[in-house]
Amino acid sequence: LNHPLCDRAPLVEAMVDGRLGPSDHASTERHLLTCRSCAELARELSALQVLLRSTSRPILPLQHQRARLALLRGAAGPATAKRRPRALLVAVLLTLPVAAWAATSPLSPLRLVDKASQASTPSAPATDAGRRKHSPQPPRSREVAAPSVETVVPETPPASEVPSTSPQQEPARATPSVSSSRAPSGTRIHRQTPVRPESGASAAQDFAEAMHALSRGDFSASAKQFEAFASAHAQDPRVEEATYLTAIALERSGRISDAKAAAERYLALYANGAHRTYARRIVTE
């Protein structure tokens, strides 16, 4: 670019791209013999192509084979990947009758709550209808198979959800705990997330600390922090990242078998997740 551009420079670029007809091509080639700036331009354009192609990193045979295997598995595997959501749907459908029973049966403790609420406040049915949907099924919100979460701890509903004017509020307050601990009996172990007003800020801070540990190379601590994050903030949108990064941090800390288990956990939860390819690689390595 240190040379003044000739009027015929566009023709030189067109020639390099093979856009010129035979006669224009020939005349431009002749022009290159006499015009220093156009000759320099042609050299630079060719050099750019050579440089671009020469910077391609060679792919190791092992890397190629892994990618090939992953591709063929992916091509043959959509059936298994789709089966998981279907299984989840079946599980949801199976739990619905239990939820319906809990909401409608005269024997259901939840029924008592409804009656108590309806008797106390006219606006309560809407609130209770919402709770009826959610109370027996909080387990469906997010499955976490982390070893640290093995028990269901029914949360006492926040005070705002319980009509405070009802004289029968004491028995009513206890019933959601009963129904929510009963619902998961036929399903997998689930966890409930405590509703904390500071959970947003706390989640961001926890995630940032785990990321910081990862970037400074403290992989062991980072793995623990990401795992704790996924357990403590199950509703947070970053849980998928945290689950994946747990596997990465474990892999880097040299705990390969733990890393594989974590990667498998990621794949089980997010069969079509953004990091499935690398997670599969960790599992198969």
Binding site: E44, A67, R68, T277
Partner: protein
């Protein structure tokens, strides 16, 4: 028998068109052969077209998976590379949008050792000039980058690139010219 698809196609000797035709019938055998032939080109494109080269593995895999599903739309007799790079470019555009949040989140992570490129060893291997070129490519607007990569790296003609990207050929030439001006300026300025 290795090298023979379920349809009886001799994979190694088959043309790209025959492989795509086999794929279109639901036979996945030809997919591995297509991957062997073209994955290097797709990968070279993917590594440079994405802002985060760590996503290249995913993009390569998604490109070939999409190609296998779209095999019926492959024009018999046409070269495979424009078809594959066209798919890769479309997926990369989509990835840019859907992964914008993710990239933000992993911004610090990209500088961790996981990033597959831009290590000092790589710079030594590929040379300082190449590292500068990669940096200059990274600064190009995406629409310029994909065009220059298709033509100057992938070896596609402007018409093939235009067809693959679904834009007029004149737009390809214009973007190509602008991209080259910027690349030459940045690479030559830093080497002088």
């Amino acid at each position: 028998m290795p090298g023979v698809a379920a349809s009886g196609l001799q994979l190694v000797h088959a043309t790209d068109s025959e492989l795509f035709a086999g794929l279109a019938t639901g036979d996945l055998g030809p997919l591995g052969e297509l991957f062997d032939r073209h994955h290097a080109s797709v990968r070279a494109f993917a590594e440079r077209v994405l802002a985060n080269p760590a996503d290249a593995d995913d993009l390569v895999q998604e490109t070939f998976l999409t190609a296998s599903r779209a095999a019926a739309s492959f024009t018999p007799g046409a070269p495979a590379k424009p078809f594959l790079l066209g798919i890769a470019a479309q997926l990369a555009r989509r990835k840019r949008r859907s992964f914008a949040r993710l990239r933000e989140l992993l911004a610090s992570f990209e500088h961790a050792p996981m990033a597959p490129r831009a290590t000092p060893e790589d710079d030594l291997v590929t040379g300082q000039e190449s590292a500068q070129l990669n940096a200059a490519l990274g600064r190009l607007p995406h629409r310029h980058r994909e065009v220059v990569l298709m033509v100057d790296l992938g070896g596609l003609s402007g018409v093939e690139a235009a067809k693959a990207l679904g834009i007029p050929a004149g737009t390809v030439w214009r973007r190509l010219h602008e991209a080259r001006v910027q690349l030459r300026a940045r690479v030559s300025r830093r080497t002088t």
